[in-house]
Assembly symmetry: C2
Homo-oligomer: 331 residues x 2
């Protein structure tokens, strides 16, 4: 099955729903700032995950629509605030929100998207015949995931100032920063679709694993990707001093010269293009990129294994293909 | 009845509950930043409102505890982000979060508090025998209020750049920025206490009115208050160019000289202490402060009238006294 086409079809389904939650409102400047990154597109991977998980346990596509949109609002809120913190200037091939409207408005724009998340879920829950405890679980799952994302983002910042970060610490950070939301996406989809507790758990585990693999792949694309396809500048993680798995692994195994080339650019915001290129070449020579890609592939294999309890369906095939897409994508 | 004592008693009740939601966690720096303003005290007016509204419709004090804490988390989240946007340096007699930990960590600290709001409400809902639709209404009310607060804060920012703001625009902004949360506080209290739809509505209206009066009083204290009691520098609203009702009213009725004295300081962050004092004296001479205080008192009278449908109880007496406190307080 063609994952990109599936993604596009599902994305079209959720697209209108997402936009319904960021309409024009007063003050217009806030509405524009909040809608900016959403209007710039994006893969809509997480809302698609919500819907597909819902289908995979026997639910209907439309049973999860508002919550799928809610997940994209939540995701976009984290992007807007992360971009402020990381001082990133571009995302999805457009200027970041704070670059256009300034930091104060970008902070509220993120907050406003986050605020609407639970309203969208409330609307979703109201029209389904879910039990009370399942409704509470929906909100609880999203609230806890949001908190984990904050913890992950804070750890990422703390790591930038640390001399040494272990691979375990990195994996823990990524599980929170990126894995928590894909875990929640698959879980709430399964909850809305009427999945059994076992199915909900399996899909949550699957979501956590592909999210972690997704972030690792993102780190690799951040040094080897194509700027146009990827939508943000290559090497900016290096300039920001991000302790990505590629960097951690490379530093622990690099030759003296390669290590020097990497450290010369790492965390130096005004590093030249040439210094960045030299650092990226050094990363490649250490074998760190291959090591990390292999690790991502292992996580994807584990994620697919989690789906064993689900009976065969188109949705299940899509989840399997989605897992592969996460490590095969170039954007 | 002594409102301050009542507030202190109720505050003690919610205090432990609030702290349970900002425990130590990794990374410690985030936990500290998130807990900073909560640890600095505060009137806990909103959580007390939740509990008293719950009692006023016949609920038990403990029925609303987690949600009372949730409202304080939500309130503190808005304070942390507002302080960043307004570049305020002090709050509750301590340094603001971004002054101690920097803006990026302050942004996440606010986000982390907001994230926990709905988890606390979920825990509250789980142990009560509320119907499903009432549970959804709880989450929906808090989500919508959060969104209104963001709109109000954005309007406040937009007004700073406008030449003229009408009294109606100001009232609309304040209803969102401050009224929405006190409205939600009273509403969720009534929902948790098993209030009838009519009681829930009446308490919501009461909350909106006292919140609006509260903000107007806050604006007055910002120019006439005692710095120690008030907890933040007097005159900072003027330096930030805030279009408070006092300023709006004064500008529309001031003599040429008074207007000049006000405009010389308004929106000038580096205005001298003397210029600020001169502006405050000019504000006083226009009669704007008296006008505004009268307006706040009218709102409080209206708020009290909303409580007519509630049968007599200690809780109802407290709500009446709370309304008076809002415009009589000096902190």
């Amino acid at each position: 099955m063609d994952v990109l086409r599936y993604l596009r079809d599902r994305a079209r389904l959720v697209e209108r729903e997402i936009h319904r939650w960021v309409p024009e409102f007063e003050p217009v400047v806030l509405a524009r700032a909040a809608g900016h990154l959403i209007g710039a597109g994006g893969k809509r991977l997480r809302p698609c995950l919500v819907i597909t998980a819902c289908e995979a346990v026997g639910g209907k596509t439309e049973d999860a629509l508002e919550t799928a949109a809610a997940i994209e609002l939540l995701h976009t809120f984290t992007l807007i605030h992360d971009d402020i913190m990381d001082r990133d200037k571009f995302r999805r091939n457009v200027k970041t929100v704070h670059e256009v409207w300034g930091e104060p408005m970008a902070i509220i724009a993120g907050d406003a998207l986050f605020a609407r998340v639970f309203e969208a879920v409330a609307e979703n829950a109201r029209r389904l015949s879910l039990g009370k405890s399942r409704v509470i679980e929906l909100f609880d799952t999203l609230s806890k995931a949001s908190f984990e994302i904050c913890r992950g983002q804070a750890m990422d910042m703390v790591f930038e100032e640390m001399d040494e970060v272990t691979e375990g610490e990195y994996m823990d950070m990524v599980a929170k920063k990126t894995g928590a939301l894909t875990e929640a996406s698959a879980k709430v989809g399964a909850l809305l679709g009427g999945g059994t507790p076992r199915q909900v758990k399996a899909l949550g585990a699957y979501g956590l694993l592909i999210g972690t693999a997704f972030q690792i792949q993102d780190d690799v694309l951040g040094v080897t990707g194509d700027r146009k396809k990827f939508g943000k500048p290559i090497g900016s993680d290096i300039r920001e001093g991000k302790r990505t798995l590629v960097v951690l692994r490379a530093l622990s195994s690099a030759s003296k010269k390669d290590k020097r080339d990497i450290l010369r650019a790492l965390g130096r915001r005004n590093a030249s293009e040439r210094e960045i290129e030299t650092a990226i070449h050094a990363l490649g020579r250490t074998g760190a990129i291959d090591y990390v890609l292999q690790k991502a592939r292992r996580l994807v294999a584990e994620a697919k294994a989690q789906l064993a309890p689900l009976s065969e369906s188109n949705a299940k095939s899509m989840l399997l293909a989605l897992a592969d897409f996460v490590v095969e994508r170039e954007f």
